[in-house]
Subunit: 143 residues, 2 copies
Amino acid sequence: MVDRPDLAAMMHPLVRALMAAEEPVLEAHGLTMWGYTVLLALDGNPTRTQAALAERIGADKTRIIPTLDKLEADGFIDRYPDPDDRRVHLLALTEHGGEVKDATQEAIQTGEERWLVDLSDSDREVFLRVLHELARMAERWPE
Amino acid sequence: MVDRPDLAAMMHPLVRALMAAEEPVLEAHGLTMWGYTVLLALDGNPTRTQAALAERIGADKTRIIPTLDKLEADGFIDRYPDPDDRRVHLLALTEHGGEVKDATQEAIQTGEERWLVDLSDSDREVFLRVLHELARMAERWPE
DNA sequence: TATTGTTATACTCTATAACTATA
DNA sequence: TATAGTTATAGAGTATAACAATA
């Protein structure tokens, strides 16, 4: 009946290993995991409210506030009140923030190649395509 | 330069969604996530020490003790001192524990099919094979 | 003295609830 | 009165350190 391990049982340790490998890279670029997650989310997607950003990255709206404070203090993001509704904060990457995000992502993906290097071109293509599709499904399934 | 999302950025939300979907199934079978993880680890692999089990599943040795207490009280595992070294506890699934583990896994994998159902046979085969291989790599990379 | 399992404590992360400022 | 953001508090989960039993 059971002819494969559980998806979660395979993916969970893998994610932990991927994140453990990311940590020193993030630290070298002056970012936390949540900080990097925010930069990825804002890249190309300026966001109108902090609550929307929090929901998009699966965080509590109270949880990201210290992260946003730090990113702003470091000059990675701009955050200013919406003139049309001064309760709302508009969020966007600064040029510097975009550069740091790019450099960090480059380093992370270089590290991740360690996992993919032994795959054939076609296995790699299929795996990444399917994974991307499942990730999009998970986004649409927020609960 | 960056032509794909980060592996971790794709997998992390996916794992969270998979685990969220598991939770009600586990509860219906009287198991916690750690309890189920222990049953999976013990299945076909009786283990000589609790510390070894903890390391295998990526947990702290102190963390699994309440889990083992509960599994033992529920009759899912046997735990008794090794006659050769009475400091050591031998751990093994009971018959009942094996049945519960099988039934739970069956239900979990049925739920997981939701993610895989739209894949072609060949995409499915490649994805699961590569994922399995990466999971094995992660096991060998414990830090 | 070293090791296995256990318990007690402290720490980190996260969520809940209360507060402010705008609308 | 309702909503966006913030702050304060409480809770869950985890790790660190001390302890008892056995070797």
